[in-house]
Symmetry: C2
Subunit: 418 residues, 2 copies
């Protein structure tokens, strides 16, 4: 069987499994999640041994220590994966919800009911713990799943998928509820992107080159997690202590993630009062600053920012700093350089907070809080399959509801159209 | 300026207009809709003269009479376009709705608020009245619009767009709220499909070759209206009079549209009682029948159906007829041959009606009503930009809400992430 045939078989099997998954009771799905959580712990030796083999190869291939860390499984991380599945079991089932219902003048009763999407294709890079998160979210939302992970994590992912599939089957799930593409061949990913007959949505999760390839080649609808160039704007009226706390958290608490701040904007009337103190606190936390001329006039130790800095997603302890003349200028800067993920204003001015909320076009717009909260768990969604920076279907953290669609039930008594 | 530059300019202008449109009050938008409705009537002579020129060319090009009819504007059709705009003015504004809101344990208040998508690209075939519908729906939902119509209707469309744009400007809309691509060059459509930086969603509306080209070439997210192979299943317990009324309506009231029935499925236990009567009524209404062997045993005048008939979207007075053994077999047939648009069961059996609603995977699933109701107007949406047969973002009639997205507002008092 060649690769095309193999992929088509995965697709057909997923399509068939999806019809069964759509009809499962909440009790069956929750019991399966509990069984899957238990078996991850019970059979962790198998997972750790597969992961050790991946790690050996990755070290030989010279992967960076950050990449090796992302690839590593250990008992604590496996326990977190299991806990994630148990949390999903405790969440309400989105499927079957009557979203809306109304009666038409002709007596037809129309109900909009929430149903699974069907088959989800998930293409992701090296963190193997994501495999369990994706399996749990897709099961709870009644979807079949085809996974295509990074080649560095192939053995870890296959081991996790095999363990979870066996647990699922013992709990009454169809055999092909989740399937892992078992080859590192890139052609498999390209085929997956064009399986419109079998796959309802593709969710790529990874770096810009992965996302770019999927946007270019996919004919299936996609939900994707683009870059995160997030701003924090310190308004004239900002409280100094609050501004420092939020800025440090947004930049330094975990600089490598998409919802970390990349550019700090400071109102010109607040800059003399706040910027030296903020710069000092950031420097103490190891952050390298790159400022505009007005910033450097107040904090001469900063390096000079170039135009490229306003469009940089550093994902590191580096911060661009710019003094702006007004909330309008802050919004204009964000409009030009932001990526519509998360933006925050620190202010005590009601009118400016309203203006910022209304005019900033981003999935999450904050007043007096850190952009780092842009996360399915922090939103109360019980995990996420990424954060959508697109506007269609789901915007922001992709939780359970983002993995559903609706259909209309129309109840008549013989009505026909005039 | 070459075509690429022209299209990019349209895109930038639309993007700038969208920021203004997103902030308009409901009162401004409704007043603009009323002005636009009035001016269509007032300046109908211009529209009719442009349309007459299109019709002359179309006759010379040998377009079918059905196509010529679709292309034709007359005072009654212009009055209907104007009435559509006034109806939109009377509908609630979807923008600004707080869809959900909740407080997190850390005190953060999260609100999900409905906002415009931004810029909508609309590619459609020859009916010029759709130009006004699209302009109205996009304005009411706060979106900028780039239109690309069929080449046969180019002068009609440009005249409508010009009149509506001038009316809009006089009522306070930005000049580039709606823009018509003013060339019939196919390259313009191909460029529009890949303007990811400026266009948020593309809505193609037309035949299978248009849809296929957009699915293949677009890198922008699309909402599309695929084929409509709709079924009506007459269950064992169906009322004879109701079955006849629904079947005639679904097939013969307007056979050329996507929500008309293409295949009739009849339960084997009901077929001897109902099929001869249904076949007679359909024949009287000019419908040509193509039946399976069991159908032909009961109605020998039917032509024999081939496998291809189960996958045919006739859009004509032709109907495929099949006798099935059970509701399971009816659902299996629909699963295999349907296009997920609209499906109906005629039954008096509660359990079977529930099974049909739950197991049939389609945008609209009916019990005891005609599939012809699958329409934005009939659903109470005040018009539509098509009917989505995809599952992402919006499924079924694309009304105002389908032209919106949401963003999250997060209100804090200095919260940072642990």
């Amino acid at each position: 069987m060649n690769l095309t045939e193999q992929m088509n078989r995965l697709g057909r099997q997923a399509r068939d499994a999806s019809a069964v998954l759509a009809g499962l009771t909440t009790a069956t799905k929750n019991a399966a999640l509990a069984t899957m959580a238990a078996i991850l712990i019970e059979r962790q030796a198998e997972l750790l041994s597969a992961n050790a083999a991946d790690l050996t190869d990755a070290r030989e291939a010279g992967l960076s220590s950050a990449m090796l860390d992302r690839l590593t499984l250990n008992p604590a991380r496996i326990a977190t994966m299991a806990a994630g599945l148990r949390e999903l079991a405790a969440l309400p089932d989105p499927i079957g919800e009557i979203v809306k219902g109304w009666r038409r003048p002709n007596g037809l009763l129309i109900e909009q009911v929430r149903v699974p999407l069907g088959v989800i294709g998930f293409i992701y890079e090296s963190r193997p713990n994501v495999t369990a998160d994706a399996a749990g979210l897709c099961l709870k939302s009644g979807n079949a799943l085809i996974l295509r992970g990074g080649k560095e994590a192939l053995r870890s992912n296959l081991a996790i998928a095999e363990v979870l599939t066996r647990a699922g089957e013992s709990a009454g799930l169809p055999a092909h509820a989740m399937q892992m593409v078992d080859t590192a061949d890139r052609e498999a990913a390209r085929l997956l992107m064009r399986m419109n007959a079998c796959v309802d949505v593709l969710i790529p999760r990874g770096g810009p080159s992965l996302i770019g390839a999927v946007v270019e080649h996919a004919t299936i609808p996609i939900l994707f997690h683009g870059a995160g160039i997030c701003h924090t704007f310190i308004d004239e009226s900002a409280d100094a202590e609050m501004a420092e706390r939020i800025v440090l958290n947004a930049k330094a608490q975990r600089p490598s993630v998409c919802n970390a701040m990349e550019t700090l904007l400071v109102h010109t009337a607040a800059a003399p009062r706040l910027l030296p103190q903020l710069a000092n606190a950031l420097t103490v936390h190891g952050v390298a600053l790159r400022g505009c001329e007005r910033s450097r006039a107040l904090v001469p130790t900063m390096l000079a920012a170039t135009e490229a800095d306003w469009d940089a997603e550093y994902l590191d302890l580096i911060l661009a700093v710019r003094v702006v003349d007004s909330v309008d200028d802050a919004i204009a800067h964000i409009h030009r350089h932001g990526t519509k993920l998360a933006e925050s204003i620190v202010t005590n001015d009601l009118a400016r907070s309203r203006q910022f909320l209304q005019q900033v076009d981003a999935a999450a717009v904050y007043v007096n809080a850190s952009t780092r909260f842009t996360d399915g768990g922090e939103f109360g969604f019980g995990g996420e399959l990424g954060i959508s920076t697109g506007k269609l279907h789901a915007r922001g953290p992709l939780g359970l509801e983002a993995l559903t669609t609706t259909k209309y039930w129309i109840h008549g008594e013989g009505q026909v159209r005039e």
